[in-house]
């Protein structure tokens, strides 16, 4: 098959392929993502003003609470449905990160705790951790040198 033929075929595929409904997707992501952040803020206020935990403990407790909620929703099979509806709206917040760790943990439980859960736990979240931590180290070094 000539490259020209393949290129024409690929062009036909992209012309005919159904497209994602971007506007709808963006709106859903905006509102669900916003809702998750609003719930986070409410939990934050509850800890901060209701229970007077102080700034550091409040931030930690809020994150922990959101992660636990996300883990529960993943466990009972609801978070994937939220994700199907909201897309990035439920992937970007910390709840999405928790989901990306819990989902493989559940999936690979049958392969055992060591090479199953242990090895596969960060298959999805791993790249985020690697590049997130690496870039924060680099930024930290730059800040340190500039001071």
């Amino acid at each position: 098959m000539s490259n020209d033929y393949a290129a024409r075929y690929q062009a036909m595929v992209s012309r005919l392929a159904p497209k994602s409904d971007m506007l709808n997707g963006i709106l859903r992501a905006f509102f669900v993502g916003g809702l998750i952040c609003m719930i986070g803020q409410a939990i934050n206020d509850l800890y901060n003003y209701g229970m007077c935990l102080g700034a550091d403990a409040t931030a930690a407790a809020t994150s922990i609470t959101l992660i636990v909620i996300s883990a529960l929703l993943t466990g009972v099979g609801v978070y994937d449905r939220i994700g199907k509806f909201a897309g990035a709206g439920s992937i970007v917040p910390i709840t999405g990160f928790a989901n990306s760790v819990i989902a493989p943990a559940m999936e690979f439980r049958r392969e055992g705790l060591v090479m199953g859960v242990g090895a596969k736990l960060f298959t999805l979240a791993g790249p985020v951790l690697v590049y997130g931590i690496s870039s924060s180290v680099i930024v930290g070094l730059i800040v340190c040198l500039l001071k």
């Binding site: 098959m1 033929y5 393949a6 290129a7 075929y9 690929q10 036909m12 595929v13 005919l16 392929a17 159904p18 497209k19 994602s20 997707g25 993943t74 466990g75 099979g77 978070y79 994937d80 449905r81 939220i82 994700g83 199907k84 909201a86 897309g87 439920s90 992937i91 999405g96 989901n99 990306s100 819990i102 989902a103 493989p104 559940m106 999936e107 690979f108 049958r110 999805l124």
Partner: protein, 346 residues
């Protein structure tokens, strides 16, 4: 000896092996689809009482094979060969099912083309008189395919608009040769071995586009070799091209000067699920073509509602490794021709 080969890729099965029996097993979502009532057996739970999805997948393959033998009124040890394969690494569903069934076994891999690959090889083995009866079978399971090719089930991601839904299901067909086979109401008359075609599609969520060129190539070869066209078939059945893949096949054939009669082109992947089931471009997986062939196509060939059918399941020969390495997706399609045989008097 008269050669059975006609043209470049096709074999004429001059002894016309018979299709003695067939059986299909499907999952709950497939049961809820438009053809749900036609499957011989339905598993209501995706684990089917097993401890893992992989074990569940092989159990539905076993079930289809046992049902097929039962419908042919044969014991398993009367089946001389099992030609089977599936999507999982090292074709474990077929191999492990064969362990339990104790039928001499050839494991095949043709991705989602496995049903027509096994029928193609099986019909030639039968035509050559190398076995009196054998079972050609394949299966797939949504949950095992997801974890091997895509993401964990509970991950909250979105599927792309071109994605297809792996069918949980299995199909098994008994092919027979010799005098007994002449009583069978369905005969296998031709088979065309497909070439592997790759037009550079790299999106693993667009299997239909990756496989459509192979389907077009094999169908063109079959028509060239036999001198037949769409008019000569009641139905041309493709496996799991999906809604986009089917459309692409029509256009590719059009470019080659083959006019497609749309009402005679039946794609199992486009048909197995209803639109309300939200599978995007339709069903996929080895079990898609296999279960639809056994539930919907073969019964109509048996009664004579369909006289001649070309069955061509398509496969995408990728692996998660090649996808990650940025390779494009090669496709393959094999074709077999079924014909209704009128009852032989006496």
């Amino acid at each position: 000896m008269m050669s059975r080969r006609i043209g470049r890729q096709t074999v004429m099965l001059k002894n016309a092996p018979g299709v003695t029996a067939w059986a299909s097993v499907a999952g709950q979502k497939e049961h809820d689809g438009p053809y749900g009532a036609l499957f011989d057996a339905v598993i209501s739970d995706e684990l089917n009482g097993e401890s893992s999805f992989e074990a569940a997948e092989r159990s539905i393959l076993e079930k289809a094979i046992k049902l097929c033998a039962l419908k042919a009124n044969r014991k398993l040890d009367e089946v001389q060969m099992l030609l089977a394969g599936d999507l999982l690494n090292q074709i474990i569903s077929a191999g492990f099912a064969a362990r339990n069934l104790a039928i001499p076994f050839y494991g095949l891999y043709g991705a989602c083309s496995t049903m027509s690959e096994s029928l193609s090889l099986g019909s030639m083995i039968a035509d050559g008189g190398f076995a009196d009866r054998m079972i050609c079978a394949t299966c797939s399971h949504f949950c095992t395919a997801e974890r091997q090719y895509r993401a964990p089930l509970e991950l909250g991601n979105q599927r792309t608009p071109t994605a297809q839904w792996t069918v949980t299901g299995a199909g098994a067909v008994m092919v027979s040769s010799g005098a007994a086979a002449r009583q069978d109401r369905i005969a296998l008359t031709h088979t065309t071995c497909g070439r592997v075609i790759d037009l550079g599609i790299t999106d693993q969520n667009n299997m239909g586009a990756a496989m459509a060129p192979a389907a077009a190539d094999t169908l063109t070869a079959h028509f060239d070799d036999t001198g037949r066209g769409f008019d000569d078939f009641d139905l041309v059945v493709t496996g799991d091209l999906g809604i986009l893949g089917r459309e692409l096949l029509i256009r590719l054939l059009d470019e080659k000067g083959i006019r497609v009669k749309e009402e005679r082109l039946f794609d199992c992947g486009s048909e197995i699920f209803a639109k309300r089931q939200d599978t995007h471009c339709g069903g996929s997986g080895c079990g898609c073509a296999a279960s639809m062939l056994c539930a919907h196509i073969l019964p109509q060939l048996y009664t004579g509602r369909l006289k001649r059918v070309l069955f061509m399941a398509t496969g995408a020969l990728l692996s998660p490794t090649t996808t990650m390495q940025g390779e494009s997706i090669p496709g393959v399609a094999h074709a077999v021709v079924f014909e209704h045989r009128e009852e032989i008097p006496g």
